[in-house]
């Protein structure tokens, strides 16, 4: 048949829940085969089965016409399968080189053969134009380079079939182009790639064929040439999908927060701020565009009170300078925060959904007697039920842990909590990273609704499309500096792109 891989009737349950049910997919040499599906559709699960991390509860895997049992990632490597995981699988404290050669078994010697390995890695780097600083600690690398390390790990082990699980979720457009170049070079050599992404633009651009998964089942496999973006989107969510277009508003002059010549560790290129002046107005969305690692994190931390500027002033809505930089002070002044890392910063994963929804309000009279002296558990639960329905949080009960939710639903919990407090300033950092089109749409709608209600929104995103789509004004951040501020209505895309590259 010429197929490199066939997965037939694969099923995988977690407890009594089927993450995959009778999934079928076949992959040919020299193609990019895209898996498309909503959050929780079972894409990663299927791939984890293929790579030997999970053991399937049913079905079979055929490689090159022969049935194989992939009982561990090691076996997968032997069959020439390699995977770049959705969440990076890197040892942050080790160098790029160490990460790449880790666990590799090509030498019989128990000793490390760094020089040999370095040479073969260099060769691969040259062949595909992968640029990696091998002696840098992964923790000190940019996200893009980390991803290249991930790809190198797979190539170094001689994979014929590469699985890329949402590789672009964290990349800038420029880096995505670089990745696509590498992918093209790989398939030109006859290797096969399974690609997962929620960004339809990318899917349309790079795929040869697309398999759509829905609720753990494979729906259809289509040649890209025979389909359209709309058809794929409809198949994926199981109903007609319409993407909203938001009206841009012109800026009011009521300032919610203003940074005046603010600096924070200006000597650091990636992770500092240099002489930043920026005003966020009520009733507008100010989008911050820029390549990840150019000061987004300190900017977000600064406007949420997590860090204190080293020089410069921060002025509140009434024109008074803010002196106390603590999250609670900012929250008290009306801050809503959708933080960068929902698991680490947004939610207490081991607490229930209900508890996460009232996280900041346990002392309020609504949820406790005597200013926090006795929690009203039933009020909390009722409130959670209401928010759950309003925000379409999909869960079996508000008493299940937040950790057990999918990313999209976790994000909805955070959004519900933050918006229920009617913030005056909403800071949203990468709010839709990794979310499917449906969830993304929902989050976007909510953010725009807040703006329309008069809230000032600071949107920080590495997704340029998202910034363009939502922002009323666009500021560009490069190496900790604001390169310029641009209008959101018919934005000068070319100029902005250049500014993002520091030109």
């Amino acid at each position: 048949m010429g197929e490199l891989l066939e997965m037939e009737n694969i099923s995988k349950c977690f407890g009594s829940f089927y993450a995959n049910r009778n999934v079928n997919i076949d992959v040919r040499r020299g193609e990019v085969h895209t898996l498309l599906g909503e959050n929780g559709a079972g894409k990663s699960t299927l791939m984890n089965v293929l790579i030997g991390l999970y053991q399937p509860d049913g079905g079979k895997i055929v490689m090159n016409g022969q049935e194989v049992q992939i009982v561990s990632p090691r076996v997968a490597v032997q069959h020439g399968i390699g995977m770049v995981h959705q969440h990076f699988m890197l040892i942050e404290d080790m160098t790029g080189l160490e990460n790449i050669i880790l666990g590799d078994k090509r030498h019989a010697s128990p000793l490390l053969k760094e020089a040999d390995d370095r040479a073969s890695i260099k060769e691969i780097m040259d062949r595909y134009g992968l640029e990696i600083d091998l002696d840098k600690r992964v923790a000190d690398m940019s996200i893009g380079m980390q991803q290249r390390v991930e790809i190198m790990k797979v190539l170094f082990r001689g994979a014929d079939l590469l699985i890329l699980d949402e590789p672009t979720a964290v990349l800038t457009d420029l880096e995505v182009e670089g990745l696509f170049d590498i992918m093209s070079a790989l398939i030109a050599e006859g290797k096969a790639i399974i690609f997962i992404s929620h960004k339809m633009r990318e899917v349309m651009r790079i795929s040869n064929r697309v398999t759509v998964l829905r609720r753990g089942e494979s729906i259809e496999t289509l040649d890209l040439a025979d389909t359209t973006e709309q058809e794929l989107a409809d198949l994926m969510i199981g109903q007609k999908f319409t993407e909203s277009i938001y009206e841009k508003v012109s800026t009011t002059d009521k300032t919610a927060l203003e940074l005046k010549s603010v600096s924070y560790r200006p000597e650091v290129k990636h992770g500092g701020l240099k002489d930043v002046s920026l005003a966020i107005h009520e009733g507008e969305i100010l989008g911050v565009a820029g390549i990840d690692g150019n000061g987004q994190t300190p900017l977000a931390e600064l406007v949420t009170g997590l860090i204190k500027p080293e020089t410069g002033r921060v002025v509140g809505p009434d024109g008074s300078e803010i002196a106390l930089f603590s999250p609670s002070a900012f929250i008290g002044a009306g801050l809503g925060n959708i933080p960068e890392d929902r698991n680490k910063m947004g939610l207490v994963g081991d607490m229930t959904i209900a508890e996460n929804l009232v996280l900041k309000q346990t002392q309020s009279d609504r949820f406790s007697y005597g200013h926090g002296a006795w929690l009203k558990t039933s009020s909390i639960k009722e409130y959670a039920e209401v928010l759950k329905d309003e925000n379409d949080i999909r869960c079996t009960s508000v008493n299940q842990t937040a950790r057990s939710l999918s990313g999209g639903n976790q994000q909805k919990v955070i959004l519900a909590r933050e918006l229920a407090a009617h913030p005056k300033l909403l800071v949203a950092v990468y709010p839709t990273r990794g979310l499917d089109i449906g969830a993304t749409e929902f989050i976007h709608n909510q953010i725009v609704a807040q703006r329309d209600a008069g809230c000032a929104v600071l949107l920080i995103s590495a997704d340029f499309d998202e910034v363009l789509k939502l922002s009323d004004r666009i500021a560009v951040l490069f190496e900790g500096q604001i390169m310029g501020t641009y209008r959101g209505e018919n934005p000068p895309i070319k100029e902005i792109s250049l500014a993002m590259a520091g030109k």
Partner: protein, 310 residues
């Protein structure tokens, strides 16, 4: 007191005191590098001390005693491994349970072994081995070059362990498992096997540290003979920043201040000596304050690992 007159004895006490801690700490380095914090060192040292004592006495062969002790340590730590690695139980509590259970087993064994026959209560001692020439050096000669073979072995272990983590494929795998087991697994490293291996090595080394107490220090076993050395070993691993050389430095430091404590006790006899006894512990804390960086060690240290869980 004349510090320089007592120095050779303090130094001798330093090395004698450092060796058992060092051995246990080296074991703990393996364990923590693979992501397992083992508070049960104390108990493992205890069983090592007893079994080495009993088998050494029974067979008259101290090396056999040492091996038996190490074997016992491995077995005990396999129990720890089963609970923490296979069952994903809490590491601190499991270690704590080891510390309650294992010394009790050792004491029980001792009761059976010695019975009321006090002739069984005193065992054999390893003879020390002077290195000709070096042993007669002033100050350090007696302390460093007139040791028991087991002590030399302990010191030789330090560069070997260092080398293992720096230059060996398996050493790199150990480290990766402690940093990010999920990533290690995706690279074909068998995380569970590495963790078990770490536990076996840790059990053997910690038990050897215990065996040193009965084979090289004093020829008797008593309940509580480990006297908190297992906990000190834990501290030296942190203080030594999870490296073998660091652990050596930290255990020598502790040994030195423990030696100083005894020297002070010996010379200032009428003073409230309990304040001298605090010295090694105070120094450990102070040393940690000044040199124990915020570096928290292997990232996944102390966390359970299940393959099919994120």
């Amino acid at each position: 007191m004349d510090f320089f007159a007592t120095l050779p004895t303090i130094l001798r006490a330093t090395t004698m005191g450092a060796v058992p801690i060092l051995l246990a700490a080296l074991g703990e380095v393996f364990s923590e590098r693979a992501g397992l914090v083992n508070i049960g060192l104390e108990g493992i040292m205890g069983i090592g001390a007893f079994v080495a004592f009993a088998v050494g006495k029974l067979t008259g062969n101290l090396w056999l005693g040492l091996l038996a002790g190490m074997l016992a340590g491995m077995l005990v730590n396999l129990l720890y491994a089963f609970c923490t690695v296979t069952l994903c139980a809490d590491q601190v509590v499991t270690g704590m349970a080891i510390n309650v259970l294992v010394p009790a087993i050792a004491l029980f064994g001792y009761n059976l072994f010695v019975g009321s026959n006090s002739a069984n209560a005193t065992g054999e001692q390893m003879a020390s081995l002077s290195i000709p020439g070096l042993a007669s050096m002033p100050y350090v000669g007696d302390a460093f070059f007139a040791q028991t073979p087991l002590a030399y072995l302990a010191f030789i272990m330090v560069p070997l362990v260092s080398l293992f983590f720096k230059r060996f494929r398996l050493g790199l795998s150990f480290r990766s498992v402690g940093e990010n087991p999920h990533a290690s697994e995706t690279l074909g490293i068998n995380v569970v096997r590495v963790k078990y291996a770490a536990c076996i090595v840790c059990g053997a080394l910690a038990a050897a540290g215990g065996a040193f107490l009965t084979l090289c220090y004093t020829p008797i076993y008593t309940d509580g003979i480990v006297m908190g050395r297992g906990f000190i070993a834990l501290a030296t691993v942190i203080f030594g920043r999870w490296s073998a050389v660091g652990a050596l430095g930290a255990s020598l430091l502790f040994g030195f201040f423990d030696g100083l404590n005894v020297a002070l006790q010996a010379q200032f006899q009428a003073a409230p000596v309990m304040f001298f006894k605090m010295i090694p512990y105070l120094v450990t804390i102070i040393a940690l304050i000044f040199f124990g960086s915020k570096h928290a060690g292997p990232k996944a240290n102390g966390q359970p690992y299940l393959r099919e869980q994120r």
